[in-house]
Assembly symmetry: D5
């Protein structure tokens, strides 16, 4: 996976919410080899570091030819973002397009230890 | 009914939410013999096992020629999913199309014992 | 008013939510004699009995030529449903179409004694 | 049926288009005795007379307890409006709500002789 | 297939347009055996006979367990309606739900000989 | 301002919610003399008296040529309704159309003493 | 009525289409004295002069307390704009909010002599 | 590119319209190496052969890692479909997602010689 | 930055919510020099002073040619509004348009000391 | 203004339609000095040259601090694109956001000489 770069949180003394929505996510189904498509939403409260947008885009693009299940990819994105940002809290949501007449939404969250 | 197959939850240490929406559900009204149509939404937190998508589709399709009331079918789907998955929690919602100028929504939930 | 028929709740051991939406409700304004139009939404948790759909439709249709104020009709529907169903809880909402450039929404609820 | 009143076209030298949309139309199915619901749209170019709005509303309301098929009622409204207005041209469209999982749209037009 | 019943066109002297939309159509893919879902829209100008709504619903329902391709079923519905109604003109449109991330629309028309 | 008339609450023993939405509100900006436009939403739980709809419409219309700021008019409507109705609780929301590329929403509430 | 000011068409050698939409139009019903509300859309091809926006706004505002029927006001706006602009062609459309459960759309056009 | 398979047009005596919409198209920008995303719509009148859906999906998927401009890819898809189907007429439309705050739509058509 | 002017809160004895939405915000990306676009929503409970609308518009416009990151600008607007208004509480939300196929939402809040 | 760069039309033997939509256009009102906002849509049939997307974006951005009327800017963009591309035909549409409660749409077209 491409590396998620970060920059200094310009207002670390305040809990505020940052949301990035990437509607052009695509990976590959490990069972059928067919491409999967979905929108990834990342919502977090930064601690010391914020996610740099261009590297975040490249990180998500690096799943393009990777075979991975829905349930797995959302948790892996969550783990990678938590490792890169050490956020106060972070949620990743994937909304995938229909397969077999059925569409799926997966949501996973991380809750850091609160400094208060 | 077709069997609901499962696979190992790839991230069992985390409570995360999985949602599947099947807008092409159809069964038969046991009173009139007429087909019913609706969307079934399944939202759950897996424990050890996740629902395999293709078998879940076939399970829902197996109601196609079954006569069953709205209130009954949602609870039966809930019971079958709980039996197959032993989830931490699970909700089934059915949104049915209008009959006699009136449409219906049925929602039933299961709350497992929390391991914490 | 037409009688609301009922049938045995097929899953009485579980609290689950049943919603019926009837967007074709019409009655008569007792002040002007003009017809009123609206959508009636009924949401309830059944105890021993569920509302039978066809009789519920006929019950709502029986207001067609009755003169009744918005605030009154919603409470009367609530009272009749509570009497027929003895539900665990029940809410009736009426969303009426504009009159004099203004539209109205009326919502009334019943909370039964919880068996827990 | 209630009478459609008219008033003098204030600009008879110009062909311009008048549209009235009545989304609260209701009549009765002659076969089942059940109420039907729909929206009636009337579009016309007036010649000497325009339709007065309040009488038009009362005319449409007078179908409330009349048993009449979709195909028939739209043509009858067209005939009555043509008789009352002698318009240059006039179209009536009915968009009816679903019955048996199917909804219907009926459109009929009158083309008068053009004075040019 | 169930028979399409008809009734006398109540206004045969006028060309007017009748549209019926059935959003609950389902048949079976002859290749995969999986159910297909779609909305069928029928638009026609009647000559001597109109389609009776209940029989039309039952006719469309009779495809429920029939294996048939999209391109074929729309043309067969067109042929059957033309045979039953001898309409002045008639169009059938099928809008099918996504399969393999792709959805399809099929439209076929019949143009009778005009009596003018 | 026109007087807000009231009528007896037909179901005073029950807390139920009445909402009226008037999307055609207009007043005048006291600074520029230009007209302002917005939608006023009134939501309340009646105690002994309900607001009569026609007088409520005339009351809101009486602001038509009055110069008043957004923040002021919502609080004045709230005060007048509380004085007329002595409600158990009441909220007024104004959603105003854009001025200078910016639109505004103002919401004020009254909470009466609860009889329980 | 306020005067409609104009400015030189910056590109008179080309037929191009200018549309202004004013969704905050209000006048008074001459029969009931009640305010009417609607959106006015003006679409034209300028010849030598274009409508200045601020004066157009003030012109439309000057109907605020004028009693005038829908059919009349649209034709009067058309006449005033044609007089002020001598356009190549111009259409005025008014979309009025519901009265008595029915809403109206009025459209009138002017076609100048084409210079080609 | 993957091959587009075909099957016999089941109703070759009639001109009817087949539309397939694939909202999950992705290719690569040849200038930046970044992925492009869009929806491809194919509308055609078949002559002797129809496009088989699964092979059409695989054909569109085979652009996944190909570097190609918007204007080029739509014309290439058009050429390949015309070669495979020899249709009576065919249009390809691509609706691409925003890049640099701007989105693009490309449409190309083929008109065969009509047999009439 | 332009100064945010204020006026006396006309109803300081009541906690009520004021929301202003400015969908035409634009600034410049400090990294690429490209313009950014978004909607700014300001929601607050005034204490002694309210924000004057025209100065608020000019204040937001003064970012037009300023290079600033999303995360920074929302916090700076929050700081400036808190300094100008000393509100009881205030939230600023920025919804920015897509860049690189991804859009962002930033939300920051201030909670003053409550006088109760 | 920035220069509009071009590239060779990859399929010059076919008339096909290219549309670019830029919803983030902003310029300055020459009368008030206030910023204007709108969406610019460019639709054309290329002859020998196509517009390069990045340069087109920069060209439109170069109006950011230019004072220009709606009617003028659309015609100037049309002139510049015709000069750069010598297209077979080209239309520019601007949809501007509300000012004084009124929004505007301006559309201008160029029709080249057809080579056929």
């Amino acid at each position: 996976m491409a590396e998620i770069e970060t920059f200094d949180n310009p207002h670390p003394n305040r809990d505020y919410v940052i949301t990035h929505v990437a509607p052009e996510f695509t990976s590959v189904c490990p069972k059928t080899g067919q491409p999967d498509f979905g929108a990834i939403e990342i919502e977090y409260v930064a601690d010391k570091r914020c996610a740099e947008l261009k590297s975040l885009k490249l990180y998500l693009q690096s799943y393009r030819n990777v075979g991975v299940f829905y349930e797995d990819v959302i948790n892996r994105i969550l783990d990678d973002l938590v490792a890169a940002l050490s956020p106060r809290r972070l949620t990743v949501t994937g909304r995938f397009t229909p397969r077999g007449g059925m569409h799926s939404i997966i949501r996973a969250s991380y809750e850091g230890s609160r400094p208060q």
